[in-house]
Symmetry: C2
Subunit: 135 residues, 2 copies
């Protein structure tokens, strides 16, 4: 699997289309770097959880649905810039995705801007975590 | 000037070496997107000011000097990921640089992670702005 094929399947996963099986895209030892938290999240299970939560939180609304605005792929790394809305706040962000020789994702790094977007993502993640702990 | 040449000269500018004339690298109508502020900063003068301030703030220290950790270049866009230290806080960030056909930078976008880094950059920028207004 080339990195181009991996990214094409990632887009299918994001759009909820067939052929976007996230388990086949992630390496077992993938590491997720959150836009909020310093500590890297290691392993397929926790990364899958974070990615699903992020896609849910960042899905946008009718006025501004989640969309990728740039795609830069070279060597083992793909960079996807995105725009979306979170509770009325404009969010501009980037996915930095590094793959191994087999095209599996070994590193997934997310950053967002501006400050208001960082705070909105932080609050929403905290609310989800609190709800999960009370369940 | 190809985008590869532009990025090579950008690295020289960052290192303070000859051949990194920032004025020759920026298009007149370049737009700077701050990691903190929503409003795009338009034009060569304000962008040069922001870039110089950012390099000063993010220069790091002996333990962790500013360094680029990834470089992805394809088409008209270059993505440079960096790591540095700001007042003891680890900063991981990205420069997203888009060029016109002549290789001049028309868009310069910066994002940082994690939350503590965003707050540290915000505080330092605010302090610089307050000092400038009192001068």
């Amino acid at each position: 699997m080339t990195i181009e094929q991996t990214i094409e399947r990632w887009h299918r996963y994001v759009r909820g289309e067939p052929g976007g099986d996230i388990d086949a895209l992630l390496a077992d030892d993938v590491v997720f770097y959150s836009p909020i938290v310093y500590t890297p999240q290691r392993g397929k299970d926790i990364t899958r959880l974070y990615l699903a939560a992020a896609l849910h939180v960042l899905s946008g609304d009718d006025d501004r649905p989640f969309r990728y605005s740039k795609q830069v792929v070279a060597g083992d790394t793909a960079v996807l810039e995105f725009e979306t809305n979170l509770d009325g706040t404009y969010v501009n962000g980037v996915d930095i995705i590094r793959c191994d020789d087999a095209g599996r994702i070994v590193e997934f790094r997310v950053m967002v801007r501006p400050l208001q977007a960082v705070n909105a993502v932080h609050q929403r993640m905290k609310a989800m975590l609190d709800a999960a702990q009370q369940a």
